[in-house]
């Protein structure tokens, strides 16, 4: 978006998602703009909860009130809703971390100067999906044992033996490949598309209002209005994607722990 002010129409491209290195260039610890945004948002989330829960009172006030409301949202509407009270509370720390980390990194997409979501590049969604993958398999193996867990995941109850070679590959792909894959791609694609839309509208606004001929200025106003509407829409998508990512993590863990 900043590039739009440098002249000409800046059309969104895939290069948006691969900015140059800021620190430690050429090493495995290279930090670019997007990685920096992730770190900043992580510190913001951690800082918020540290401040909110620093001196907890029995009757919450101020920031503690907000913190408890946030924690209760994940506990009631995701963890306990999907997994029930006991398991919900057991996995609450993981689910809470996922929800607020994903939401905060998504929100960076509409925060001025950041202008891109920390989850719009594959690294963050992939790492969180791998954590989900490890946790749901671990939870399943721990609660049922390895053999029983595998049997429950791969062999649907009631299928005759001669059908198993046909249906087992489907269950294998559905459970062990599609789950982490779709979890990663859903979040990544939504954030990437949202960023491209916003860049498109605001770049067009800048070009049409300040560089194109006077004839195009009304179109620039329309483009700005659309950019504003899409920013609001993006706020909704950012929250929804964090919610869906966390809820699916809870669903996968719950499915792994129960026989079907």
């Amino acid at each position: 978006m900043l590039a739009a002010s440098e002249g000409g129409f800046h059309k969104p491209s895939i290069e948006e998602f691969f900015p140059g290195a800021l620190l430690f260039a050429g090493t495995p610890f290279e930090i670019n703009r997007i990685m920096l945004i992730r770190l900043v948002m992580t510190v913001v989330v951690a800082g918020f909860f540290l401040i909110a829960m620093r001196r907890p009172k029995l009757v919450p006030r101020g920031v503690q009130n907000l913190g408890e409301y946030a924690l209760d949202f994940v506990r009631i509407h995701i963890a306990e809703e999907v997994m029930g009270r006991d398991n919900g509370r057991r996995f609450l720390p993981l689910l809470t971390t996922f929800f607020f980390l994903v939401w905060a990194c998504n929100l960076a997409g509409v925060i001025p100067l950041f202008n891109i979501a920390g989850s719009a590049v594959v690294g963050l969604p992939l790492v969180l999906s791998v954590v989900t993958y490890v946790v749901f398999n671990y939870a399943g193996i721990k609660s049922q044992g390895f053999g029983r867990y595998l049997k429950n995941q791969l062999i649907p109850t009631g299928v005759p033996v001669y059908m198993l070679p046909l249906v087992m590959p489907i269950e294998l792909v559905s459970t062990f490949i599609l789950r982490p894959f779709t979890l990663t791609v859903r979040l990544l694609a939504n954030m990437m598309a949202g960023h491209l839309m916003l860049v498109l509208f605001f770049s067009a606004t800048s070009f049409l209002l300040f560089e194109a001929s006077a004839l195009f200025k009304p179109v620039g106003v329309l483009s700005f209005a659309m950019g504003f509407v899409f920013t609001l829409f993006e706020l909704l998508v950012q929250f929804l994607q964090a919610y869906i990512f966390t809820m699916l993590t809870a669903v996968y863990i719950d499915l792994a722990m129960h026989e079907h």
Partner: protein, 69 residues
């Protein structure tokens, strides 16, 4: 703030997501196998057959799991 829920076990909502995943995985797996067979034989018939077969199998698994009551 503390709106206690009295559910102690899971709601089974996960079954819906599992159902969708199975319906997608069927065509992916058998369509993929059909594509490989087509690629090996330089033909063009096994991909659509695999897709259809996988779709039917996906429905079959869903029926066995949830449709029999």
């Amino acid at each position: 703030m503390s709106d206690e829920t009295d559910k102690t076990t899971s709601t089974g909502d996960g079954d819906v997501w599992r159902l969708i995943s199975t319906l997608v995985a069927g065509p992916v797996v058998w369509g993929g196998i059909g594509y490989l067979v087509d690629w090996a034989n330089d033909s063009r018939i096994f991909l659509p057959i695999g897709l259809g077969f996988g779709f039917v199998l996906g429905f079959y698994i869903v029926y066995v799991r949830h449709g029999r009551g």
